[in-house]
């Protein structure tokens, strides 16, 4: 076994972290209003929207990847968007990866935030309104702080899940070093080319990372139940 590890492994690590961070930020911005609406709305069709958001949980990533490939390609809306800056397609680009990751990781962010908003109940917001707080002020001063464990859980899960995605990336990102070649694909590649040292370093890193994520989640949960009682 070759113990010399190629310096190239830093590229997919950096790219993965960039992708996960950007995806998480976008998901917090996009996912919070969706979670709020799902928690508060009395529309009969809201569970249909919830199911739509949750679909990536059960859908094979290749299916999502296939549709994304079509949508992001030259003849889809992604292509039309890309033409604004003279490109032909969003597939096989970093922005394409971000779009894919946002959709794929959305349930992991929306669900914990929605749960936190629902656990809060109507009363704190009602109390705030009777104290002259506008809905906007009540949201930021009451709902967000009370749901903060949900936000934290959502952010961690969204980040971690983006780091771990493989199928969607493979379908729409391909394997362009420095542009779309993220960790999970890199490991696959190293194995394909028998670069076991690199593969095992990355794999072990992922194991440690996943362990830390799960541990953090459990500690948050424990702290939450403690402060709730």
């Amino acid at each position: 076994m070759n113990l010399h590890v190629s310096a190239d492994i830093w590229q997919p690590i950096r790219l993965t972290l960039e992708l996960a961070a950007l995806t998480t930020v976008i998901l917090m911005v996009v996912g919070t209003p969706i979670a709020w609406w799902l928690a508060r709305s009395r529309a009969w069709w809201k569970e249909a929207v919830a199911a739509l958001v949750a679909i990536p949980l059960v859908l094979p990533p290749t299916v999502l990847g296939f549709y994304l490939l079509v949508a992001l390609g030259p003849s889809g809306p992604g292509g039309a968007l890309a033409s604004l800056w003279g490109a032909r397609t969003l597939a096989f680009t970093f922005p394409g990866l971000v779009i894919g990751s946002v959709l794929f990781s959305m349930p992991f962010v929306v669900q914990p935030i929605r749960n936190a908003f629902e656990a809060m109940g109507d009363r704190p917001m009602e109390a705030a309104a009777t104290l002259r707080a506008s809905p906007w002020r009540a949201f930021w001063t009451i709902a967000v702080p009370l749901a903060s464990p949900g936000f934290l859980t959502g952010a961690i899960l969204g980040f971690a899940h983006t780091v771990g995605e493989f199928g969607v990336v493979l379908m729409i990102g391909g394997n362009i070093p420095g542009k779309t070649k993220v960790l999970s694909v890199a490991i696959y590649d190293y194995v394909e080319t028998s670069q076991w040292a690199e593969a095992s370093v990355l794999a072990l890193g992922m194991v440690v990372f996943s362990f830390c994520v799960i541990l953090t989640m459990m500690l948050i949960e424990k702290k939450m139940t403690k402060s709730a009682s």
Binding site: P124, E126, A128, A129, T130, L131, R132, A138, I142
Partner: protein, 365 residues
């Protein structure tokens, strides 16, 4: 005179609401009725927390809801005290109190220090609501509502989640509130003892409908309403202290058409106290009893009667020779009623076995 005027009709969840009343926008108005009769629904409509499509609500001439208006909750100058305190758990007591406090307040404002001392919460300010007892939480919730400078305070059974001891601890604060602040209060309760102690006006509700509204003593003495025929029927009225006999500890209080003697700790003459007399504690005689342990025997006239299914008679009395004074209720058996030949219009002696002092604070002070 400025009033609170509401008219809510329609279905709200499982309620068929038909609530219409107008009461003066001062003092305490109790919304009274059995659990589940729609009291909370009415209060939530007044606050704007629930919306009935064609409801009307105006407070002191200010329209909060009509055909074309629906003012959102946060634009109504209310304070709302829920059954559970609903404090914000992530904020300290002090920051809870200050949450609705406007940045700039006029001279007539309810001040922070005033509220803190009125409710006795000075020692709790830096604590988290998680570490308060039920009674402390409710006092902070009342303070928080007051500091938002409401023009109308809405209290939805603020004591119902508390045990009797805690209730007794908070009631004096509520009485002080009533005495110290010129703030109209709507107060929901299903406990007549609480109502007798706090309320000036009464809105009587049964299964989503307002049966009657008006001064407490008037509704209590209305034989056409269920209150006067209930098991614990009573009349309460405000009386003026005129004297105190230091030797035997008896205070004399005057009401229109008569006076009551009752054992009490020294009461300052000229102040007002609220008395309550149960219908079951008033018996009737045609002649003044000469030797009796009953201290309070008052001249009265029978104004109206109701014969009840349990072979008893409830009579409405007017104090004084002419029967023009304060109203009392008396409940006697059908048999004694017939034996004495009692009837409407007759002058009688009302023998009052018990008088309770239900409010110790002077409402006018």
């Amino acid at each position: 005179m400025s009033t609170v005027k509401v008219d809510f009709r329609g279905t709200l969840g499982r309620f068929e609401l038909n609530a219409r009343f107008e009461v003066p926008a001062r003092g305490v108005t109790a919304i009274f009725g059995p659990s589940g009769c729609g009291k909370t629904a009415v209060m939530r409509c007044i606050a704007g927390l629930n919306r009935l499509a064609d409801g009307l609500c105006s407070v002191a001439g200010d329209v909060w809801q009509d055909e074309k208006t629906f003012r959102p909750v946060h634009q109504r100058p209310i304070g709302y005290v829920f059954q559970e305190a609903n404090l914000f758990p992530h904020l300290s007591v002090r920051r809870n109190l200050m949450y609705g406090h406007p940045a700039t307040t006029g001279a007539a404002a309810i001040g922070f220090d005033e509220v803190v001392s009125l409710l006795g919460i000075a020692k709790l300010l830096e604590r988290s609501p998680r570490h308060l007892s039920g009674g402390e939480r409710q006092r902070v919730a009342i303070g928080r509502a007051l500091l938002s400078q409401p023009k109308l305070l809405l209290m939805d059974e603020p004591l119902s989640a508390l045990d009797q001891m805690t209730k007794d601890e908070i009631l004096p604060y509520l009485e002080r509130l009533h005495a110290a602040l010129d703030l109209p209060i709507l107060y929901i309760s299903h406990d007549i003892a609480e109502v007798e102690r706090l309320a000036d006006q009464l809105v009587l509700m049964r299964s989503g409908t307002v049966l009657a509204s008006g001064p407490l003593s008037k509704l209590q003495a209305d034989l056409s309403l269920p209150l006067a025929l209930s098991r614990d029927a009573a009349v309460s009225f405000d009386a003026e202290v005129v004297g105190q006999d230091a030797a035997d500890g008896m205070a004399t209080l005057v009401v229109p058409g008569g006076q009551f003697l009752l054992p009490a700790e020294p009461l300052p003459p000229g102040t007002r106290r609220r008395l309550r007399v149960l219908a079951d504690d008033v018996s009737l005689a045609l002649e003044a009893p000469s030797r009796s342990t009953i201290v309070n025997v008052l001249r009265a006239r029978i104004l109206e009667i109701r014969r009840q299914a349990d072979h008893r008679v409830t009579a409405l009395l007017g104090l004084g020779d002419d029967g023009e004074g304060a109203r009392l209720l008396s409940r006697v058996t059908q048999r004694s009623w017939n034996e004495l030949g009692l009837q409407t219009g007759l002058a009688v002696y009302a023998q009052v076995k018990g008088v309770a002092l239900v409010r110790r604070e002077d409402p006018a002070a």
